[in-house]
């Protein structure tokens, strides 16, 4: 399933809404999650999962092609942990 298919499903279930509003609804949800994480916040959606930010410490890396040592700065990466209900549903039946 891709974004446009998700929008179509929601539009089909809500014939009273304009297509452009359905697009806005779906986009707002995903944008809000990214905004939260870029502020360092967590987004916890019970039953579905939680989005959070993990810190990766600075480290001494290596250029795999030349073998040269390079220093890699500390950085923050997005992380998703599946919720219990969804994890259980994936393994039923």
């Amino acid at each position: 399933m891709i974004r446009s298919e998700l929008i179509q499903k929601i539009a089909d279930e809500n014939p009273h809404l304009y297509q452009r509003d359905v697009e806005k609804i779906v986009n707002t949800i995903f944008d809000e999650i990214i905004d939260a994480m870029s502020n360092g916040d967590r987004v916890e959606l019970r039953g579905f999962g939680a989005f959070s930010v993990k810190k990766r410490d600075a480290r001494q890396g290596r250029n795999p092609r030349t073998g040269e040592a390079v220093s890699v700065e500390e950085k923050h990466v997005p992380f998703f942990k599946t919720g219990k209900l969804l994890r259980d549903r994936l393994n039923k039946g």
Binding site: A36, R42, G49
Partner: protein, 100 residues
């Protein structure tokens, strides 16, 4: 950095603010988006949201695990797990937003 936790309520508040539907309807639309994502994944589909990320379902083989507390070995049956791969945009925004 004061870390907050957002919930469904914050997402529906954003929908309420941006789209101007009632709070009730905003909340039920957030729920139905999450339901559609979950249902597709449970059917084994990959869910690809452009500029957000990709959720995929992977099959894990059975293996012998260990209870880390007691050291006892315990069989782990085959199972399906969900992985999320963030988009470049998400990675970039998270990296630059959290830079000090």
């Amino acid at each position: 950095m004061a870390e907050k936790t957002l919930t469904r309520m914050d997402l529906s508040e954003a929908v309420f603010r941006e789209v101007g539907l009632s709070r009730n309807e905003s909340a039920s639309l957030v729920e139905s988006v999450l339901d559609h994502l979950s249902d597709a994944l449970v059917r084994g589909e990959q869910v690809k949201i452009s500029s957000f990320g990709t959720f995929s379902v992977r099959d894990k083989a059975a293996r012998v695990g260990r209870n880390p507390k007691t050291g006892e070995s315990a069989p782990i049956p085959p199972r399906r797990v969900l992985t999320f791969r963030p988009s470049h945009l998400m990675k970039e925004r998270v990296a630059s937003g959290n830079k000090r």
